[in-house]
Symmetry: D2
Subunit: 433 residues, 4 copies
């Protein structure tokens, strides 16, 4: 990441984008009560208030602290309270206890946001030469990641309430289409280039671009649907160890899972909990909230049903296809949370690698690992991505909750195999020979 | 408990008391933000909002449901959401997940309180003959118990915040007195009567009054002070297994405890977290926030120091002394939370069994068990006390947070041996021969 | 405990008893393979080899070390390896890891036993004036306790084997009698004396003898039978929270228990695992392997069935009855493990407090606590009983596995409420008024 | 895997190898007492007796059951007792409770081995046409895997004993050489073929051979030594989060680790526990018993020390180098456990990729995943490798405990990131550009 300062013109553009991204975070949090913003439903999920503060902390600590002459922190305790995991910056408040910090209250956190925004604006307008444009840029993308996390964490919290409250009233649903037959996009394989192409922003883990050898394969042209996944359940999928990885079956038995997360019962007709409350799914919409084990088990079951050598795609197969087939990262990207249908949709026959973006993050067969020649960014932000390269799997694409301007073909999202509170779905792949 | 209706005159008095008790709960919650009222710091502690709702649920479910013609619940989901542990009433929302119920919000819970209050008032004024006076009375004492729990639970929550926020500004502290020598109140023992004397309200577990044989013994005339307990710490009390019960030593090692709960360090001079934030304790004030193991270990250490056969009192020794020496249950009872010093105080040289009430609940050597001939109340309230008679110990007295009109000599409070977030202290006893 | 030396004559008698008790331990272990003697099935249960070694360690460390001139330990590591819980003696090998000590092997442990026996004999014969008779006596009773534990721990281990192996072939079963109606032994109550009467050996926790006031009550003249307990199960006892203490119901849900331990299924006809393998129980034999929660739940259910105020007896009620009715501690006491039926039996219509001894330890309503004026023994053996006086309940009587000469009316056995791998049963009591 | 029968000549050869492999297992178990063979020190480690039985079960269930006319099991309960994880075969005795199966005893298990051996011999000699040669072959390699596991599991058990017993007396140690400078083996990268080359046995997970694109890189020509790793410790390696993966640092804090497993203290001079008891390590010998987190942390620390872009090798880099540089899989392979030094050795300057085999399994940066076009074997043995392809990392090479004839360049061993009781070490790699 370049740590060069922006030109005054670039600084102005950056400030404009900053204001837009920061405003979008606040628009996402607008419907929340102070209680909604406070509670933490599990150690992996953070309170909305914490997201509001932490994204601000990121700018304050990584941008302002280095750039402001005579920097003074907004509040001395925030450095620890809102540090997520940066050991180079110092100690962190315990992750599982974020929901216990009732003070500062929501209004104080909003004031913290405003104060840091103002300081950033002053700096960008008056002393752009002191600012690292790269770190501001990173702060924007960081905040966009937290926008999606704010929604996934909030959904998890609301789902713990037997009243099943809605985050927002439902806007008009996307038009329902009859389920389309699953088509196959064939790739003959061979040497391809993988990784960020140098255009626009990318995280360090997308670098360096490097050659990779692909085997001949095909990718499904759309995601697995709710109806298709329901057939797996009906066929006893959650009761038969033969479809599951060993750790996956252990998870099934430990968790008692009988369906994806947020299904109110084992049949889709029982309803799905969404950000708009419990809704009847469209059978053709992509199935959501699978973990890697469920996604993998489905591929084995589907392989046995069809006789095809089905499996999950590798992240390189996915990236190559998205690039080759010009999948559009802005398709259904999150722009106006108040007007948008915050759930997967069956619509989206956009040709080529349909539903690549805008519906669900897609589990891949690839463990999250360094690309050949990978170097983490220097400084504290070297911890952003690199230290998680163990026991996580790569997800590709983007969901309906991924903000506009955030997705791209080389994007590498990653979560542990058991995680299923993210907006995660499944695209099939198969070997060709 | 009598289920007779009150006379119209008694109904009017009951309503007056109801209004006072309910208002006191709201006064306690008044300084809380919605976030403060929402968060739950451990499974054993409930959010303040839940206390507000549950005490209301108690009146709605146990009084209104039986008495109102054509009863309709305020909200159909509340029966489960705010049921604490009454199996006879039905399922309960999981105790450890009370902090995840962000909706109903605090305003809605306050509206719930107001609506039930109004229905109770209407009933008592217009149809007292339909009401069980005993259940209303129980509801009042139940709510008073939750008033103290609201404070202990809130203190636990605020202590989890590194900012150590205060619940309320500190009012003037009680005058500090030099520590007085510990005197001994001698009892020759023999047959005494134990249990509720029939005057005024009592819980079922205080009945029946029954003969009990006391051995000759003496009780200390005041509680163990902070300075005295600090000497135990300084002498390595938390590092030497010889003072501890076997389970107690296991707890020390598992928890890493080095001082009572809420001590900021191993010396009192490091400060104590109180409802008024971190404060310097008065060395002569009673030590608080011990669990049974700590209280017991102190007695063994003090016995070795003094050569006296020191131990914890039995609950019968305590009760007999309190009655015989006319200890005053209203001493420092909680009346006006805004004006009161919400912490133990060294003041209180009230003669006889000093500090019997108004400072700290006092651990006894008695396991919580049924009195001979005990019968739980009939109906769902039979679960109020009886089903906890295993693995708990009796505490006697009352703390500074016990509401006025709530304490009495026969009162049996009970908690597990490990609990230390209550306002719990220690009075010494010794064998005489 | 007296630490006086024995007279030469007493020393000779002591040696004779020592040899008999030590031989009985070895007779108990005789049928075990080295593997049987090695394995540890849970932290609370010890391997047989450990029992063999620890009882020897007790004599070596508490008797020889003080008495032998120029004492040298048999092996320097054993002081830690075979110390159970004596903090005053020093560190202890972790309780849960006793089963990992494969060396010393069983033969070495037997050699350790022989060597210590020989040293004890030499001392008692040649220098009795150096020996504490009281500690040798204690060592004998200590070893007898471990004889029963060896069997309960072994039974637990063998039960974990799906082959359900027998410890020994079954000798002839006691004659079966038709179940007799439960009779009631009435006591008018009043002041009685409780505790050890000064005749023969007693543990420190049976002292001092002291007055106690009994309420009028009656005790059942026999234990609850398998058939009676089975009726509780059939009636849904394990599915209905109303019979259970709060902690008990939590235990039922956590454990999934549907019957007492070692029942092969929910009906007695499914067979019971015994030290003689799976056997068909006699319906009239006392039910075994209940924990306190199960025993307590049965009393509530039985009270509802009969309309009688049934409950568990207090330990004082039990002791007073056993003494008053001359119950025989030697009834079915363990003498020859090879020839004895190692399970409860329906036989035993011995009049008065039938089955007081020789079938099952009987849960009482009494928490394990110090008697008024209790003083633990001096020295390391002060940890023998005193430090367990929290979160345990008293059991009275003796089982078929309690060695001859070990039981008495004042004996206080104690276990936590959840424990059910001991030979534990249930006698009903009821209030009279 | 071919399921063809062997020719009579091949059957004779197979039988000869069977006898040799089976005999080697028994030679490994020969020094064990029944207690040593019984105990299980953690759920991941199995008792030696279980290894003896399970490897026999494998032949009985997968070979005999399909091939013997009128097959009857040796014992009906063994099918469950000794099934490790084959869901297609049926239920399994709980993994964590293998140490509780004291019966069958060791002698019975040896008789089981002999009986199955005899039945296999009879079949191979008399009816080879009924036998699957591939499954017998697999059984041999399976048993060889368990030979190494028997040693790693036994070492773990013996280490839990404070007496630190030796498995065997130490034979002469390999000659000590002065530590050699670490050389670098350069590879320009490009397309290479990875996977089993079709010669001799291979597991399904080594197939299919497939093209892979390597980046330019270099591999260290020997493993990291004890002295080198000790420098990392001395420099505070276990106290500084900056070297560790996020999960790795969490592991350090949770485990309290300060050195590799089996180090008696933080310095090598404190001694290392080996199969020959506690020994002083040769500073130049390869460090053992690292988990992935430790191996990875060392590379980051070493990179900072040297300024080189050090990292773990990928499994493909390792395989390509081993093949290209003709590393010898038989180097120090286990043949005669009685005469062999069962620990890593500094000797082994064998040129090229030194210590590729014969010292330690070497962690790679590669998560364990399917090769492109991977198909698990058919039938129950499809569970052998395929279902573990999540949350595990590949190790390459072989250790001093890997049996002769078992290692090869394409071999993929795999363990979870936290595992360190295997004989695991570390080879450095670095990016070239």
């Amino acid at each position: 990441m370049s740590t060069e300062p922006p030109s005054p013109a670039d600084a102005a553009t950056l400030l404009q984008r900053l204001r837009a991204v920061r405003a979008q975070t606040e628009a996402l949090a607008a419907p929340l009560s102070e209680a909604d913003a406070q509670a933490q439903s599990m150690p992996d999920a953070s309170p909305a208030k914490w997201h509001l503060a932490h994204t601000t902390w990121f700018f304050e600590t990584l941008v302002l602290e280095a750039a402001e002459p005579g920097f003074r922190p907004h509040h001395p305790a925030y450095r620890v309270l809102f540090n997520s995991y940066y050991q180079a910056i110092g100690p962190q408040h315990a992750r599982a206890e974020r929901g216990l910090i009732t003070r500062p209250g929501l209004a104080e956190v909003r004031a913290y946001r405003a104060a840091v925004d103002e300081r950033l604006a002053r700096l960008l307008l008056q002393q752009p030469e002191r600012v690292s444009a790269g770190l501001v840029e990173l702060g924007l993308h960081h905040e966009q990641q937290h926008q999606e996390l704010l929604l996934t964490d909030l959904k998890h919290l609301l789902s713990a309430n037997p009243l099943r409250p809605a985050y927002r009233d439902a806007p008009p649903r996307p038009a329902t289409a009859a389920e389309q037959a699953m088509g196959w996009l064939v790739c003959d394989g061979g040497r391809v280039d993988i990784g960020h192409d140098g255009t626009g922003f990318g995280f360090d883990n997308e670098d360096p671009r490097h050659p990779h050898w692909l085997a001949p394969h095909a990718l499904a042209d759309r995601l697995v649907s709710v109806a298709e996944y329901a057939a797996f359940i009906t066929d006893g999928g959650y009761r038969s160890p033969r479809w599951w990885l060993s750790d996956g079956w252990a998870w099934v038995q430990r968790s008692g899972a009988q369906a994806p997360l947020y299904w109110e019962g084992p049949a889709p007709g029982d309803g799905l909990f969404t950000l708009h409350g419990v809704q009847q799914p469209d059978p053709a919409e992509p199935v959501l909230h699978l973990n890697l084990f469920e996604a993998d088990a489905y591929t084995r079951w589907a392989a046995a049903q069809t006789g095809l050598p089905l499996r999950l795609p590798t992240e390189q197969e996915w990236e190559h296809a998205a690039r080759r087939l010009h999948a559009d990262p802005e398709r259904r990207a999150l722009r106006d949370p108040a007007a948008q249908w915050l759930h997967a949709s069956a619509a989206g026959a956009d040709g080529g690698l349909r539903q690549a973006f805008g519906e669900a993050w897609q589990w891949t067969a690839s463990a999250y690992a360094a690309y050949p020649g990978y170097r983490p960014w220097g400084g504290a932000v070297g911890e952003y991505n690199g230290k998680f390269m163990a026991n996580q799997s790569v997800l590709r694409g983007a969901s309906f909750a991924t903000p506009g301007g955030h997705g791209r073909a080389s994007y590498r999202n990653f979560f542990p195999a058991e995680a299923r509170w993210q907006f995660t779905g499944l695209r099939l792949a198969r070997d060709l020979r």
